[in-house]
């Protein structure tokens, strides 16, 4: 019956007050300054309104009491407080009073403004599940982009390292360089796919290191397209025993540009410069 015995003791003051004629019948007002005093704990405040439904008589209040434990629900709503026994108060949850008779709208959170009062429109506080799914998908795809980018870096730098030897070396050296380079190109394509297919978010302007990351892609993407094509031409020429000539001689420059800017694009995301 008395879950908040000592707390109610304080609330009982108001009842006593009414009983003593301190509040006229029908009066309503805030439960200002009342504090719940539970054994061993610091006081908690009680928000609510009282309504003297009869004098003397039970006090009808809308209040929100602290939880007994984190797991239990917070008791709130309209409750009737009545003297019980010699030392206590009975709290009984009751139906709200008739509309218009009590200040129900202002009851438990009377002192806390609503979001509307703060200036937020309803649409600003409302969730948008579709947008959340879009954000989730975007994040997933960019995470894959990040992982694939890291994986791509290995064959890309490997192909660069093998490139010098491939130009002057044996057919086997060139084949190895071709395999590693092709692997890098394929992984690069997959990396790029996840970046470009990730859903964009309307109204968001790219800025910061993300913008730098994207600008660098305008360099490494064409370089990465050109490098395998030029590499194919250079290999054909080398297989014929010729030195790379024509546009094929730019294979090395294109591949180096791609590798350097791709690495740079990754580093700007990883480190703050």
């Amino acid at each position: 019956m008395i879950t908040y015995r000592s707390a109610c003791l304080v609330t009982a003051f108001a009842i006593a007050w009414i009983a003593q004629g301190g509040v006229a019948e029908g009066t309503t007002g805030p439960l200002a300054g009342l504090r719940l005093l539970r054994g061993g704990e610091r006081p908690s405040t009680v928000a609510g309104y009282f309504s003297a439904s009869g004098s003397p008589g039970p006090l009808l209040v809308a209040l929100r009491l602290p939880r007994v434990s984190a797991a239990s629900p917070r008791p709130r709503g309209w409750m009737e407080l009545s003297p019980a026994g010699d030392h206590g108060i009975a709290i009984a949850q009751v139906a709200p009073p008739e509309p218009g008779k009590e200040p129900e709208a202002q009851a438990p959170d009377a002192t806390e403004p609503s979001l509307e009062e703060l200036g937020f429109e309803e649409v600003e506080a409302r969730g948008d599940e579709k947008q959340q799914q879009r954000l989730n998908k975007r994040s997933r795809m960019l995470k894959t982009h990040q992982i694939l980018g890291l994986v791509t870096l290995a064959p890309m730098l490997g192909a660069l390292a093998l490139g010098e030897k491939a130009g002057e070396g044996s057919r086997a050296d060139r084949n190895l360089h071709t395999i590693v380079g092709t692997t890098a190109a394929a992984l690069y394509g997959a990396t790029a796919y996840f970046a470009y297919r990730a859903p964009s978010v309307a109204g968001v302007k790219e800025k910061g290191l993300t913008r730098t990351h994207k600008i660098l892609s305008y360099v490494h993407l064409p370089a990465m397209i050109a490098a395998p094509v030029l590499g194919y031409l250079a290999k054909q020429q080398a297989d014929k025993g010729e030195r790379a000539h024509g546009i094929a001689k730019y294979h090395s420059a294109a591949a180096t540009t791609a590798a350097v800017t791709f690495t740079g694009a990754m580093l700007v995301i990883v480190f703050d410069f």
Partner: protein, 186 residues
Amino acid sequence: MRVFATTLLLISTALFASAPGAAATTWTLKQSKIAYHVDHLLHKSEGVSVAAKGKGSCGVGPGCAFRIAVPVKTFESGDSNRDLHMQEITRAASFPLIDVKARFASAPEEGPLTVSLEIAFAGRSRTYGAVALAVVSRTPDAVTVTGEIPLKLSDFEVERPSLLGVAVKDEVALTIEAVWEETSSN
């Protein structure tokens, strides 16, 4: 019963007399800067929002009750991708606002201020019993409050973002600078 009632009345009167904020005052958030601070092995970053809205009152109910809300998407860290990722992990589209309800004993005066905070964020709610803030300046019609709320991402079941397989620290301090204007008093 009569003795009991009289005793209650006496204590009650004392309580009412000592109740803080007997004169009701209302406050409106004039300007604010709220920032989160994320710590990663390779990065330290912060996101700032100046778009919070808030109101509060003292003396209307018991003690003072303030409420501040800020749209999650208004936090800017200087990097759009990081901001969008933050919105994703904090479920900002589903729960667009960080809603903070603050309760404390009496109208703010210059000096330390201990508040009880109920923070609703990312679809979860958490109460911080005694957060130490500071009123750094108090003029007749405004107060400036600063402080730090020691949030943890795990408190709100927010997955810690990671970069190169390394997750950020669970502790994400939320710093607040807020100028409150007293809008009415009676």
